[in-house]
Amino acid sequence: MNTTLNTNGEVKPNLHVKLGNVEFKNPVLVASGTFGYGAEAKQFCDIEGLGGVVTKSVSWKPRMGNSPRRIVETASGMLNSIGLANVGVDTFVKEKLPYLAKFDTKIIANIAASSMEEYRDVLEKIEANAVPNLAGYEINISCPNVKDGGLSFGTNVERTEELTTLLRASTDRLLIIKLTPNVTSVAPFAQACERAGADAISLINTLVGMSIDIYTHEPRLNTVTGGLSGPAIKPIALAQVYQARKACSLPIIGIGGIVSAEDAIEFFIAGATMVQVGTANFVYPDAGVRVAAGLEKYLQQQKIAEVTELVNTLRVKAELKAAGW
């Protein structure tokens, strides 16, 4: 990698990361469902300052989404039950993908579906209309908010493996499987993705959560339960990334409550190669760019030349490791 100097003559840290054969300008992506299809946030965020954009989930047909109420704020987080509202793959390839193609950053198309065939058909439709900066696909098998939204894949190791194998045959681009924390252990899922030829796994999606109005005795969300996100879930996400890191050798994209560069760095240390910034975009639409800038500053301060040097550097005492921690 090239070494460049900044204006003070200091070595400018290298933020580039490679996933498969794709090089990203930095390891910070924006998470699916927290950045629309780019156009919505453009006024508030320098999209080209991001490593990439993971799009709002796209399904074969447009989805209207769930009835209100769809969001509830909770302690250091929020519950959502959006219900995969999206424009459908036709509009996605006609309008959304060409729009994002104008930016000097990578695109990862997130796909949600309710059957093996739908996942494959959506992927192949996008593949047939690919733009040069389309880096690959993130497969959402972990949405907890719709009854037909793929969680039946994400909570079943065999189906995860079968789906990954099927989709692997349809693309040479990056194939990333987005895993759910709503399982007993993430390890067998990470291993299933590796066996089936995925390029990476991303985790975690939201945790199933609930909030109740004590005066009406009704759930606050229309769908009773929803997906918990935000800083509240970061410790859980870190632990899951660490467990996945120990379970497989696939690159990991860490997601869950990342607001600052410090948060992101914890994920790199736990074993993530890249991160996604999600709910923070709802507060600061340029949160991803802020994280990338903070990351560069940290590397400079710590005199670390490459961000990749941080990855999987957790120090756990040998006797603890031996005991399975």
Partner: protein
């Protein structure tokens, strides 16, 4: 060029009534670019994760480089904001959303229908109508006289639930009497208030076949159309034409043609 949130110094805090406060803050972008009906999304406490989300507020007034919001305390976030002191910094994103549709050519008299803290989006609208010399009537309903924010309004007809001032009853009933008497020439209703009042405005407008716009206050997270958290259900006729079951209060609104949405 992107415009992210801007630190804005609070220059004035006024208590209008118990639990009702105005905050004036310095933010040239909001002050100069807000059009009546738009809102700002403000963090209760920058740098803290609890509460985490911004709170949306109509821009109540603008003058010079300063803008003002009106806050009704109804939870932790609004409680923190209402207690912001002069000299403290607010983290303000905006202006956001679409303005009131005052340019529609379907009316001669503007009727502002205000319920409670729904007053927040009306002063800038009033200023616009006064500038354009549009005849204007304001029907302001409140629980009681002390909760009325009187600034920057014009030709105000007050209705209070407890009869402490003006008409004893609802502002919609008061407006109905004006409509029945034919005192308002070719009116259009601009309504902002509790859902019940807006539903009543919807049916009143339908009954008298007059245009009506309602400005909604819903839960919001981002305020810029990315979270999809503030859906507004569309009427069947709109759904049939557009295929859209929901619109978003933040970017498609906050004001909507009354006949196009389900309240």
């Amino acid at each position: 060029m992107t415009s992210s949130s801007v630190p804005s110094v609070v220059t004035q805090r006024r208590i209008l009534a118990p639990g009702l406060v105005t905050l004036r803050f310095r933010n040239p972008n909001v002050a100069h670019n807000t059009i009546a009906g738009q809102f700002v999304n403000i963090l209760p406490k920058a740098g803290f994760s609890d509460p985490m989300l911004r709170r949306p507020f109509s821009v109540y007034w603008t003058q010079g480089d300063e803008a003002e919001i009106i806050i009704q305390e109804h939870g932790r976030g609004t409680g923190i904001l209402a207690n912001t002191r002069e000299g403290e910094i607010l983290d303000v994103l905006g202006p956001l959303g679409r303005p009131w549709m005052f340019d529609s050519a379907d009316y001669m008299t503007a009727v502002l229908l205000i319920g409670g803290v729904g007053v927040a989006s009306m002063p800038l609208l009033t200023r616009k109508f006064e500038l354009d010399e549009v005849p204007l009537h304001t029907f302001y309903g409140a629980r009681t006289s002390s909760l009325i924010a009187r600034d920057h309004l014009a030709n105000v007809h007050i209705a209070t639930d407890d009869g402490s001032e003006g008409f004893h009853g609802s502002n919609v009933m008061l407006l109905r009497s004006y409509l029945e008497s034919g005192k308002l020439e070719s009116p259009k209703i601009f309504a902002c208030g509790p859902t019940g009042m807006m539903r009543a405005a919807q049916s009143l407008a339908a009954e008298f076949s007059i245009p009506c716009e309602v400005s909604l206050e819903t839960e919001m997270a981002c305020g810029i159309g990315i979270c999809q958290g503030c859906p507004v259900r569309t009427e069947e006729s709109v759904f049939a034409v557009t295929g859209r079951r929901y619109r978003l209060a933040c970017t498609d609104g906050p004001s909507f043609k009354a006949e196009e949405i389900v309240l």
